[in-house]
């Protein structure tokens, strides 16, 4: 009989907190946590003392006071009598608009430039290099200011559209007016509109949803669904009989007939801009500040994206393009079918941080008078109410949420691409 000897029970000693690797990590963590909490408590304590001395205890009441200023570009209805919270919301939407538009155009320009930098055309490749170096090496703030000034100097003045001997005229069959106050494009109008749904009553976050828009989206979704059905059916027939029935006219019909019928029923027509008084009236006005910011941010970010794309393409071994050439693919087909899809895997992660940078750089909108979140909540509202702490904290919080959302979405997309690739 042998008895298992119990391992000697080690009694816990204080010194083990330092010398025993098992406990040391706990010690370090507790110390780190304590240190962090002490610092945080110290900062908060200072803030409370200071704010009390200033007589400005933290309060978010200012958000429900009237803002008092006008905002030129508003996606929701807003007037100077609305509250500060609503002004901030309008600003947030403006931030999102310019970030969204900027990311799309920056990607398009970036990919084109990145590919053209590798072009066999010496001149084009050199010009693209000059573009990339010029934009990467000069601060974005400078580009934003310059884009704004160049647009307002170079585009035709409203004055030149006026009078008998106007020197400028509207382009695209008199539907689009390009001026140095912005671009006026036709807007969609419905003479037999179904009206709007008002949501959230009278609160600062209220918004309207156009029933026309819902109807259009619903019809479009149904049409696409039906087209898919038709396609699936065609495939089924093809698998059964070996012959694919011709369905393109059915597809087109399903896609267009209901939509046209709906648009006619709603009384769809285009609202064209026309010169009245000081400005063009009617149509949608893309303001100069938006265009300048959009242009500068896209061109600046595109320069970085171009480098990423170029790096991604170069990372694909030459064997791939030689193989594609051996298959008889033309250079542009090689690029779009063989190289770019593979390069995508290398390209996407740094792309995410460029999208984040673009979104964060949009906070420089203040330099061109574009009312984004920094211009409203962190600008005029802060100035007028004097609530620095609350405004800046809210501002940081909102940007943080936007950034985290963007990186979450892009990381999700990245994961998906990677899975499909491997």
């Amino acid at each position: 009989m042998s008895t298992l000897t119990e391992p000697p029970v080690e009694r816990f000693r204080i010194s083990m907190l330092l010398y025993d690797a098992r406990y040391r990590s706990a010690t370090i963590q507790v110390v780190a946590m304590l240190f962090f909490m002490l610092v945080a408590a110290w900062l908060v304590n200072n803030a409370i003392i200071n704010l009390n001395t200033l007589g400005k205890p933290i309060s978010f009441k200012f958000l429900s006071n009237p803002a008092g200023y006008d905002i030129n570009q508003r996606l929701l209805e807003y007037s100077s009598r609305d509250i500060n919270l609503r002004a901030a919301l309008i600003g947030l939407l403006n931030t999102l608009v310019v970030a969204f538009l900027g990311c799309i155009t920056a990607t398009i320009i970036g990919v084109i430039v990145g590919v053209l930098r590798l072009s066999s055309n010496w001149l084009v490749a050199r010009i693209m290099t000059v573009y990339v170096e010029m934009f990467r090496n000069v601060p974005v703030l400078l580009w934003i200011i310059l884009a704004w000034a160049i647009l307002s100097e170079a585009l035709p003045k409203i004055k030149s559209f006026r009078g008998e001997n106007a020197t400028s005229s509207m382009s695209l069959f008199d539907t689009v007016a390009v001026t140095n106050r912005g671009i006026y494009i036709p807007e969609a109008l419905f003479s037999r509109s179904l009206g709007n749904v008002h949501l959230l009553g009278d609160s600062g976050l209220r918004f309207d949803i156009s029933i026309d828009l819902i109807a259009i989206v619903v019809v479009l979704a149904l049409s696409i669904f039906a087209v898919r059905k038709v396609k699936a059916r065609a495939t089924a027939v093809q698998e059964a009989t070996g012959e694919r029935p011709t369905t393109w006219y059915i597809q087109l019909g399903i896609l267009f007939v209901p939509m046209i019928a709906l648009l006619v029923a709603l009384g769809f027509h285009l609202g064209l801009p026309e010169l009245k008084g000081f400005n063009f009236k009617g149509g949608t006005h893309l303001r100069n500040s938006l265009i300048a910011l959009w242009l500068a941010l896209s061109l600046y970010t595109a320069a970085f994206i171009a480098e990423i794309v170029r790096g991604g393409i170069l990372a694909i071994s030459t064997g791939q393009s030689e193989a594609a050439a051996a298959l008889g693919l033309k250079p542009n087909r090689t690029m779009s079918l063989v190289i770019l899809p593979q390069a995508l895997r290398v390209i996407i992660p740094p792309m995410i941080s460029n999208y984040l940078n673009l979104t964060k750089n949009s906070s420089l909108a203040i330099a061109v008078g574009y009312f984004d979140l920094t211009g409203t909540l962190g600008g005029v509202t802060l100035n007028q109410t004097g609530r620095e702490l609350e405004c800046v904290l809210l501002l940081m919080l909102v940007y943080l949420v936007i950034s985290l959302l963007i990186s979450a979405v892009m990381n999700w997309y990245n994961k998906r691409v990677e899975l499909v690739e491997r």
Binding site: Q29, A47, L51, L395
Partner: protein, 434 residues
Amino acid sequence: MSDLSFVRTEMLPEKAPPASEIGIVGWLRHNLFSGWVNSILTIISLAAIYGVLSVLIPYVFLSVWNAESLNECREIMNETWGSSHGHACWAVINERWLQLLFGFYPPEFYWRPILSLVLLVVALAPILYSDRVSSKLLIVTALYPFIMPWLMWGGSVWGTVSVAFGFVAGYLVLKYATEALGELFAMIAGAVVAIVWWLFIAGMFVGAMDAILPIALETVQSRKFGGFMLAILLGVVAIGCSLPIGIVLALGRQSHLPIVKWLCVCFIEFIRGVPLITLLFVASLLLNIFLPPGTNFDIILRVMIMVTLFASAYMAEVIRGGLAALPRGQYEGADSLGLDYWQSQRLIIMPQALKISIPGIVSTFIGVFKDTTLVSIIGLFDVIGLTHAIRADTAWNGIYWELFAFIALLFFIVCFSMSRYSMYLERKLRTDHK
């Protein structure tokens, strides 16, 4: 044998290739007109280049260099070219370039920032060109963090010496007490010695030394800093200070200790998630609220703190990239040698990881350097801020493009050369790995 006279028996002399394949024509055909798409692209590009140059060249070169005010510039232009449009008035740069470069730094002390910059190059040389520059220069690198503030801000040399001595004392304690106390206690003891020195003894030391041997530079208040110098200073300070913080954060983020890791991740993601301008708002509007009542930092110092925090989050990510790029075997090799965590980091991991990270660090520097222009929004007189001030002078009110062109050129020269260096380094590192 039959007469095969149609078969040539001697080689023909080599002919020159067709004229369309060599020389300028051939080069043009290959590189510019190799197909109709390329030809169209070439023609469009040429037209674009012509369009830009036809405006730029007269603007830049047919310009006024000497004038007292914008109005005088316009008069000269009208006299010379009959129009005041399309010509630059560089006279403003001619008059204000020193201010644009140095801000309000006293002109008699311009040598101090210049010397700082030269020393910076000397200090960086052994790191950036480690293969060509003697490593003896590393002594300059070690001293630079103490010399630079003294040169820029001035004051008694003994203040600088005493701060440096604190570090030396701490290091000496760490070095000689390690055997007696063990690494952890030696570290703590070193820190305690340094802090005791700075808090209690340094003041007396400085007072005593000043009485014995007063060596001092005239103090320059940091609100005199401005112009392009401010951008460089902010960039250098931010990168210099953020390097150690970034290393700690990167290690923390990779740590197995959940609380430490969580704190580091939160900090990094928070800083990376908000725009720099909001951090600058914190510096200009809020930092005083979070400090004890009565403390009042200079705005430039506050901005330096926030820019450093900003840079350290990005630096942490760059270094994390460097750490991730190290082969697993390096970590395992260090472990198998019996090195503990700090030893393996110090001797094996960090030297390699930092070397890989240098291109990333350089591009972070370029980014921070460009972003320093944002301080103009909170009212500091960096180059862009100075343009507001210059245009508030009645003589130059209304001038616009010339100032921005000059600023863009300054930034381009500095950033472009740094990015070229970073590319060179990347190429060098790549061959190292093959």
